[in-house]
Subunit: 307 residues, 2 copies
Amino acid sequence: MENKNFVFGHKKPDTDSIASAISMANLQTNIGSYSESYRLGNINRETEYALKTFGVKQPELLEHVNENDNVIMVDSNEFTQSVEGIENANIKMIVDHHRLNLQTTNPVFCMAEPVGCTSTILYKLYKQNDITITPEMAGIMLSAIVSDTLLFKSPTCTDQDTFIAGKLSDIAGLDMYDYGYRLLKAGTNLDGYTAKEIINTDSKPFEKEGIKFVISQVNSADVDSVFEKQNELETAIENEILLNNLDCYVFMVTDILKASSKVIVLGNRRDVFEKAYNTKLCNNTAILEGVVSRKKQVLPKVLDAIN
Amino acid sequence: MENKNFVFGHKKPDTDSIASAISMANLQTNIGSYSESYRLGNINRETEYALKTFGVKQPELLEHVNENDNVIMVDSNEFTQSVEGIENANIKMIVDHHRLNLQTTNPVFCMAEPVGCTSTILYKLYKQNDITITPEMAGIMLSAIVSDTLLFKSPTCTDQDTFIAGKLSDIAGLDMYDYGYRLLKAGTNLDGYTAKEIINTDSKPFEKEGIKFVISQVNSADVDSVFEKQNELETAIENEILLNNLDCYVFMVTDILKASSKVIVLGNRRDVFEKAYNTKLCNNTAILEGVVSRKKQVLPKVLDAIN
């Protein structure tokens, strides 16, 4: 028997990373390539709400992979955001919607598209392989699209995402706007989290030209209440900077309804952020009107500013 | 109007690089995204035979692309094997069957599969987009599959390549074995080429851990006659090594029918090749039984030996 495939998204998993791993493992197993989904970290409240709603079990935590383990990367293709040991694993497939940044030794299957959510691509892969999407799978895939596109409001959202979300909500048997709103609300509930937990909810490390930086993001329906804890958040960020030898840390609090973000930026190379947005930080913060997407509106600007 | 897409394969183009560029440009134009195919170097005799047989015009030479030009990469995703200026172009799509080795700033469409030929993937992309494949397009796509899989004998050949070649030969209205044999024979005709032209027929540069090397390959139905020119070939190779500051140059002469390759290896780091194959070079040459694929049977071994 062929060894199983380990299917997983990125570290600090968001709903798409968990949902894509689950639905991809289900698809591969259905077409005869036995696969199991994993998570590379704790799941957040939004994902927890989605899994509970559709009665889907949380994937097990994966700490590392061994040499030549068969892996399938979803919602991620950068080794720095993946599991320990990925460099020496046997990457069989990649399904992703992020920029490409990887080096493989052998040819692999890679399906990447500039859409809002990996689950949108996976829907098409189910269709291509003629595999039925169950209501449970449809529910968690829909959750991923709602999450990644902020209920179709993010600039990363494409017509395909909206169209396929509609198809999935039909299968799951629910109203996607009503369900989507409840999902996002469950996700932005920060009650009871420590500052450290908040900044680590969805943080991603990047590196260019030797400059190491992190862009972290949380959504909130009440940005002011998050900034009541600014001092504690800054202490937590300073700790991360020291611990990981970072040059810059950008923490975004995104107001989904107003479509804007308020950021805290710390580190020796805050100038990169200031250059990227042609702005001056005030009390370590800035307000970015219309900015909701780390991938499309923040990362490219920061990378360009480093150039 | 949206600017046109520049569609091209790799430098030192083989038949797949030319055929994929032509058929991808045709597909994209058909679905409303105006595209033109280009070549990044002179076409070889095999490709010339294919284009002439199906009455398809040779693409124009492309020397560089400008910043923000829209480009579609086929049969290639490594910048080192692509056109000048690619780093600052707007990469819109990638369709390829090689290992992945690239970094993009933004998410892109990428369809990569571990099959024998890019044209095999493009056939599926035509189907997905519901675009008719004309007999001319079918003929050149079939030529690419025959060329890359050495008439289905290469270990890189998959069931999909053979199956789709059958579909394409039906559309083109010919017997794929009969046509394929004539195509490969036309391609291995080295009469009238200088040693420099022979080693540059299909050579690819690679770099790992600071070691710069080239693997060059020609097919021949008569390996001995090629090695009658060994002295001139070695002089031409030594010139390339000096000119490009290479550490190692591997020149493979592959006998398609016998499924083996005889190689000339020169450069200060010939030890890497000897380690890769656990062999000693004799008179700078070695015979590799069963080895016909640079991508699958040579490059991974050399990369591993560098590790």
